[in-house]
């Protein structure tokens, strides 16, 4: 077996030669004024978090990054928006007022969700990739059209760059990065009105992380509202979207993505006024 140098290992971790440089800084999405907000929160707070109620709004085509150290309620807030945690307050997705705590209502209003725990809350490990992609609406009217399911799944797996033995492989066989790409393939087609993504690149290699971020921003550019929750200030910078830091459940004013790491860090630690 040939000796592997530290440089080789680093290149492997970075996901191959084509991705050894930092991901290209992505231009911020264009805001479309006057449209019905993709997301509007009014005095909204997850139940049981003890956090103050927050109000915010995201326009179609706009992305917003919620940046926080774990435990400050940013992921609770994201999960509550997606209906996966109970909450109180006003919640409107694409202009439709929905009852907090209902994933069903969130989806019906055009919401999509990338949860923090992709193994437990994202994918159904025992089902095939194709079945995971078409959980809600498999092709066919009364019975599943298996040929159509296989071809459209294979097509989507290819376009989203999911590396797998085929659409019939069980989802549990995928690596973390490919699981996340599979989730994106499910959540971004058809294009949602609002996408909530919590720690979308946590635990992924650098190439996959860059790919996931690019897909999130693509969705915003195509007209979806995008809410990203992250604990990584560099990720917040790379996303290029306005950043609001969450500290003990309260939101900072919007900060530009170009804010320095030191300044973001001060907000995250609760040291900024």
């Amino acid at each position: 077996m040939p000796a592997t140098t530290t440089g080789d290992v680093a290149a492997l971790l970075l996901g191959g030669a084509e991705a050894t440089s930092r991901p290209v800084a992505l231009s911020p999405p264009v805001r479309r004024e006057g449209a019905v907000p993709a997301l509007a929160l009014e005095d909204f707070s997850p139940i049981g978090s003890g956090a103050p109620a927050v109000s915010l709004s995201i326009a179609p085509g706009e992305a917003l990054t919620l940046l926080a150290i774990d435990g400050n309620g940013a992921d609770l807030l994201g999960a509550a928006v997606a209906g996966s945690r109970s909450a109180r307050g006003g919640l409107r997705v694409a202009g439709r007022s929905i009852r907090p705590g209902s994933c069903l209502a969130f989806r019906a209003a055009g919401g999509a969700f990338i949860p923090a725990d992709r193994r437990a809350e994202g994918l159904v490990a025992g089902l095939s990739l194709a079945e995971n992609l078409f959980l809600r609406r498999p092709p066919g009217r009364f019975t599943i059209d298996r040929a159509a399911l296989a071809t459209s799944a294979a097509d989507r797996l290819r376009r989203f760059g999911v590396r797998a033995s085929g659409p019939d492989a069980p989802a549990r066989e995928l690596s973390g990065g490919n699981q996340q790409k599979l989730l994106l393939a499910r959540e971004l087609e058809p294009l949602p009105k609002l996408l909530v993504a919590i720690h979308p690149t946590r635990g992924l290699d650098i190439a996959s992380s860059g790919d996931v971020r690019a897909r999130l921003l693509d969705a915003a550019r195509s007209g979806a509202g995008v809410l990203v929750v992250t604990a990584d200030p560099e990720e917040a910078q790379e996303l290029g979207a306005p950043v609001r830091v969450v500290y003990r459940g309260a939101l900072s004013p919007p900060l530009p993505a170009s804010t320095s790491l030191a300044e973001l860090g001060r907000f995250m630690a609760g040291l900024a006024a």
Partner: protein, 334 residues
């Protein structure tokens, strides 16, 4: 489930059964021949096996439907009894209108089974009470309910025994083939097993049910109506077990008595486990259990082996399977 596992369990079970036969002082070959004769040796034997399989096949399918949606329905026995009691209550209402009486039974028995399951559904979804616990307790309620019914409201005033009025002969299902006990109820059970298999594997509803059963949180987050799917499967499971009880009365016993069931509901769970939690596998295992039951009297009569041995065999098979599978799970998670 791997074919090797199944083969290993089958060989192990047969070896253990042979050992038990030797301990009982008989020849395993004779015992096996007697068992086969008793289960399949004649028209009457095949009819007996088929007749016994009705309840086992239906309760096995019922167990599978609930389990695949993530519900451990241990209450099949109680739901079976509820269905039988409903059949005994409505069956004698139309002694001269066989079609109406049969329709009433086929309508009332699944309804009673679903109603018997309903408290457990409510407790599970609204109060987070595990169905394993609630359904076991509801079984006790159902057993006591049967005891009360046959001595109280349903008691046959003409008879001395605590049993319900008999359905008239015109209402009882007649054998498919003269001289064999099997009726159209067997075909209904097999048809429902096939329907359940198709539904689970090939329809959007089946996919949604499997998703909810496999990963409830992921299914919910993906926007599937998880509570409705789980509750629906639970109620459907109860309805299938209730239908099994109703058909038992309509096809075989003609009335309710006490004790009515020798644990069909529990055997159905065992059959579902042995069948790999698939409707067709469960149905096949249910049929196998029925054959063992039908063959057991010949076992005692012809080979001098206690008939109870035949009921030990399925238990051994299920235990062996759990042992094999449990070992494999530990291996893969290491």
């Amino acid at each position: 489930m791997k074919a090797r596992t199944v083969l290993g369990v089958a060989i192990g079970t047969l070896a253990a059964a042979a050992l038990l036969v030797l301990l009982a002082g008989a020849s395993p070959a004779d015992a096996f021949a007697a068992l086969l004769r008793g289960a399949f040796g004649s028209k009457a034997a095949v009819g007996e096996t088929a007749a016994r399989s009705t309840g086992l096949v239906l309760t096995a399918v019922a167990a599978v439907v609930a389990f695949r949606a993530g519900v451990l329905n241990i209450g099949l026995e109680g739901q079976f009894l509820a269905g039988a009691a409903a059949a005994a209550a409505v069956g004698p209402l139309f002694p001269d209108l066989p079609i109406a009486a049969r329709a009433a039974v086929v309508f009332a028995a699944p309804l009673a089974g679903a109603l018997q399951a309903a408290p457990a559904v409510w407790l599970a979804e609204k109060r987070q009470v595990p169905p394993v616990l609630s359904t076991i307790l509801l079984n006790l309620v159902a057993v006591a309910g049967v005891t009360w019914l046959v001595r109280g409201p349903l008691r046959d005033p003409a008879g001395d025994y605590p049993q319900s009025r008999a359905l008239s002969d015109a209402v009882l299902l007649s054998p498919l083939v003269p001289g064999a006990r099997a009726t159209a109820a067997v075909l209904a059970a097999l048809g429902l097993a096939a329907t359940a298999a198709f539904l689970l594997a090939r329809t959007p509803l089946g996919l949604a049910l499997r998703a909810v059963g496999e990963a409830p949180r992921a299914a919910r987050a993906a926007g599937l109506p998880d509570v409705r799917l789980r509750s629906g499967a639970f109620l459907a499971s109860g309805a299938l077990a209730g239908l099994a009880g109703g058909l038992e009365v309509l096809a075989l016993t003609g009335r309710l008595y006490d004790p009515f069931s020798a644990g069909v509901g529990y055997s159905g769970i065992a059959a579902a486990l042995l069948g790999g939690m698939t409707p067709l596998g469960g149905a096949a295992s249910g049929f196998l259990f029925a054959a063992l039951g039908a063959g057991s009297s010949a076992l005692q009569r012809d080979a001098g082996v206690p008939s109870a041995l035949a009921s030990i065999v399925p238990a051994l098979a299920v235990l062996g399977l759990l042992l094999a599978r449990g070992g494999r799970t530990a291996e893969s998670s290491r």
